[in-house]
């Protein structure tokens, strides 16, 4: 199976692909039909359980501040609308508030409360187009992310671009390669049996090409998230997505 992958993509053109795939397509179009149906069902979508829990946490006081998210941000449906569309590193931003402003112990990466809050916040932007722009603040990160995206690594010696720019839509075993967009995160993956973050998904891809996974919070992950966010501009947010 993996030998087949190497044969297919080594033969692919090394010419610089256009920066964004055309047409831009969400991963929902490439995932299994059952996952797609689950995502559209607000009761059966397991990711919505994290949204529900996040809704509860939003109103709970935390840390020595004694304040809840709601105390500063009010109704999330209003204050958080659009945030996921224009913010990269959502989980870090939430943790900054939790540790910095609520004066609480920082959440562990991929911990249930952090994922629940991220799912709830991202859900408020459902349907809105991704809008990460190339700004003076994030330009350096974006360019580093772009370089990482196009760099071969791992025992399989693959760059992200070789699957997700050059070969999206083609089969990899029983699955179809997506364009690798972040518009459905945090997402429920059936294989994880849990909601997980974009950072986790990128780490999973690193292990897929048999490369060492970057640590949570590492600059490489952050830079890739910036680039992927920019690259997906225009795609509607689907959080919480459902994938295999």
């Amino acid at each position: 199976m993996r030998l087949l992958v190497a044969t297919v993509v080594c033969g692919a053109s090394l010419a610089l692909a256009a920066d964004r795939p055309a047409p831009l397509r969400s991963g929902v179009e490439f995932t299994g039909s059952d996952a797609r149906a689950l995502q559209a069902d607000d009761v059966a979508n397991p990711g919505m359980l994290w949204v529900s829990r996040g809704e509860k946490l939003w109103s709970e006081p935390a840390g020595t501040s004694g304040k809840s998210c709601a105390d500063c941000h009010g109704d999330a449906a209003k204050s958080m609308k659009g945030v996921a569309a224009r913010t990269v590193h959502l989980e870090e931003r939430i943790n900054d508030c939790h540790a910095g402003r609520q004066d609480a112990r920082a959440f562990e990466p991929e911990s249930q409360p952090l994922l629940s809050l991220a799912a709830y916040v991202a859900y408020q932007s459902r349907g809105m187009p991704m809008a990460i722009e190339d700004t003076p603040q994030n330009h350096a990160s974006l360019e580093r992310g772009r370089a990482l995206y196009h760099r071969r690594s791992g025992q399989l010696n693959l760059a992200c671009s070789q699957c997700h720019d050059d070969n999206w839509g083609k089969k990899l075993a029983a699955e179809t390669l997506s364009q690798g967009h972040p518009n459905a995160f945090p997402e429920y993956r059936l294989s994880w049996e849990s909601v997980g973050s974009l950072a986790r998904r990128i780490r999973a891809c690193y292990s897929g090409i048999r490369a060492e996974m970057p640590e949570y919070g590492s600059p490489d992950l952050a830079d890739l998230e910036t680039y992927l966010g920019w690259r997906s501009s225009g795609l509607p947010i689907e959080s919480p997505g459902v994938r295999r």
């Binding site: 359980l49 509860k56 409360p113």
Partner: protein, 112 residues
């Protein structure tokens, strides 16, 4: 935040109204890892089995539907089943896992 203190999340769909005696479709998803007991932690020890082993739906005290479940039911168990209501009343849902942790939900229905 210790996991036990977070209240169990569940999402429930019960029609608000129904005709007397007509079947109503009830759908429920409960957040639970349905730990199989076959996984190993980072310390090399098996993570103990813990699944929701019993679920029941009662209408005005009478059990309409129940499920005995094992580790073969997916994480975050989902159930879709039918009940009837002869009069307006309340559906009560209860479940318990291997560790003895209980959960409950309820929903009212108006019968024409």
């Amino acid at each position: 935040m210790p996991g036990r203190e977070l209240t169990v999340a569940a999402r429930l769909s019960v029609p608000a109204t129904a005709k007397k005696g007509e079947p109503v479709e009830i759908r429920i998803a409960i957040q639970h890892p349905m730990e199989t007991g076959f996984r190993f932690g980072i310390d090399g020890r098996a993570i103990p089995k813990n699944v929701i082993n019993r679920f029941s739906c009662r209408f005005e005290g009478a059990e309409v539907f129940s499920a005995e479940m094992g580790s073969g039911i997916s994480a975050n168990p989902f159930l879709d089943f039918y009940a009837t209501a002869e009069k307006s009343g309340t559906f009560e849902f209860e479940w318990i896992d291997d560790a003895g942790v209980r959960g409950r939900e309820s929903a009212k229905i108006e019968v024409a």
